[in-house]
Amino acid sequence: MTHASCHDPAPVRDPVPARPHLVLAGNPNVGKTTLFNALTGSSAKVSNYPGITVEAASGELTLPGGRIAELHDLPGTYSTNARSAEEQIALDAVVGLDGAPTPDAVIVCIDATQVARAAYLLLQCQELGARCVVALTMVDEAAGAAPSARALAAVLGCEVVAVTARTRHGLDELRAAVDRVLRSERRPLWHWQPGPALRARLDAVREALPASWRSATRYGAPLPAADDALALWALTCIEPRTGGADDDELEVPDALRAAVVAEPAPRDDEAVLARWAWLDREIPPLIQKPPDRSRTERIDRILLHRVVGFAAFLGVMTVLFMSLFWWAAPVMDAIDQGFKWTGDQLHGVLGDGVLTDFLVQGVIGGVGAVMVFLPQILLLFLFLGFLEDCGYLARVAYLMDRIMRSMNLHGRAFVPMLSGFACAVPAIMATRTMERRRDRILTMMVVPLMTCSARLPVYTLVIGALIPGSRWVQGLLMVGMYLFSVVTALIAAWVMSKTVKPLKAKRLPFVIELPPYRFPRLGGVLRMMWGKSSMFLREAGTVILACSIALWALLYFPRSEPTPAPDAGALVTQAARDDAQATALADQAHQLEHSYGGRLGHAIEPAISPLGFDWKIGVGIIGAFAAREVFVSTLGIVYAVGTDADSHSEPLRVALRDARDAGGKRAYPPLVGLSLMIFFALACQCMSTLAVVRRETGGLRWPVFLFAYMTVLAWITSFCVYQGGRLLGFG
């Protein structure tokens, strides 16, 4: 029935290492993560593969006898034939290429309702010479349709253990099976034989494999069949050089590429068809009856219905969106107040001084700036966890694909973009629900254009202070800003997918599985929610805190002697109600103007004056880097109306309305207000967004690109609005 390859290798028996290295492979939606969590318990850690946006989870697994093994969860893939970052990782991890350690054993998850398709990945692992153990998952769901583990093991030629992670059934057997397989010989297993022509090609390409790829190096003993499998992979995946720096091109030695492209006919179809022919012959007899999808079908009849389904979709999205806005808001306010209160208490204890200001405004303020994101992140991932787990997120992609595709976005980009209306930080973290890196990064690049809730105070202030007209006009302008952001984000996605090389749409099929509906597991959802949040605090949070402190210092130093008001001239006119207070406020204003940040505001004035902005707005823009709404309180200081100014405070509105430039004209006519709003809509004025993009993409390249393109876009658009408006006589 099953037999080893035609090259019968000498048995290879390397001693079991002290800390075996295991990987967990499988298709998407086969319950791999649940199994991983059940096997590793609390030792699991989630992080990113270095330099790329693919999540890596690893943890410890205790084998019988107390030996601890390291278990690495791979991204869900259907095949090891690298076309995406995920598949490349799967191949590297299974084989031990590109710096990845050679695994001592591979656990392959096979979904009992989809045995043949899931077993395809197993065949590739077996050909490559991995020691494989199959974890047969979803047995409870497959019910009578599940094959018996014993019969499946006999056919597949490796150990098969039925597991139910939820009830922990089969976990000990799986550990025992892993322990046994670790002591076994490494023996590549081919369930099919290449024809003579493919055989000849494999022999030729195998000779060109670099030494570090060969089994003699990786496994410590030559296994020609395992080398054949890598040669087959090379034949399948390596393309002739296209000339330019094609992002798709694999990094392979020139000699290997030359051997692969020496003959035009790749003959790789033969392998795929032969594997499937074998699977279609061997697997169906083991399956008693087709798996029952009737429950899923009944639910889909409603949720994917033309009218009802769409209404249900809008309902789900409305709840998600409103919860981010309204449920999170009181908690965020409470966090804000809590940190303010702590700061006040500390101020009371320490008294005035630079150290106090550093601790209160810099450190406590900075920690508060990080913590304030938590409610939205927790809520969003609670929702996403449930939607993903029950299978609805795949349906969102199905329902929205038509719209998102027209902008070359993934159907699943819908939820992150919607979340972007609340805050770009959790929205960018939510791009992880997309499988392909290119889709994730493109979405990350446009999410910050959505009108987040931090822009709202800025718009409210500007519209209230500078835009004349009835409440209706002002309200419509606010709606207009939202529409503007959606349209810009969609256009930006389209333009970038056409022009920015790594973001170009690849010709990979957009095939997504619509998994059966399943009951979400609260434990798993909470675990993921906590995992993402703690990762945010650890990795993005520290950067945000550091930036907050740096920004505080920028606007605080150097300290200068308090000077009496007259110097500040126009700045105090509106605040001259109460002398003592006015002097204090004027001091603050003076201090800010002469801080490094204030000087920077002056320094950038030539760059922003074509947009209609003076240095005071420049300082506000710099301050807004901490968070956009800080623009309002920074202007509050500049105009000496106090730090507590909010977007509804009348003194600040009056100050802005009455501000005069050197020539005595209104400093901020309505046109400047519009230009300012456009600038805030488009510029990436948010260090937290940049910090989280850096964290998610694993490098500086994308945050720098994001900042650069948005700033340029904002400047040009504001320039056109302001200068165009002046030409038309609105100045």
Binding site: Q114, L273, R405, V511
Partner: protein, 76 residues
Amino acid sequence: MVSTLAETPLGRAVKVHAVDGSRAFRRRLLEMGLVPGTPVRIVTVAPLGDPLRIEVRGGQWSIRRAEAAQIQVLAR
């Protein structure tokens, strides 16, 4: 008679004859099990007219119309 999956009426049982398109595209679909001879059926069309929900090997996938047009099918 060969036609494409995109032209197949809703619910009609057909089987895969061949998969066209770029090498990477073909291989992905083949590796997912859409090999010649595999029964396939369009279950529903998304409310906005695209993509299609198809049934293959006891599972369901969402596939774009343009991609379904690359899949040649035969009546079953």
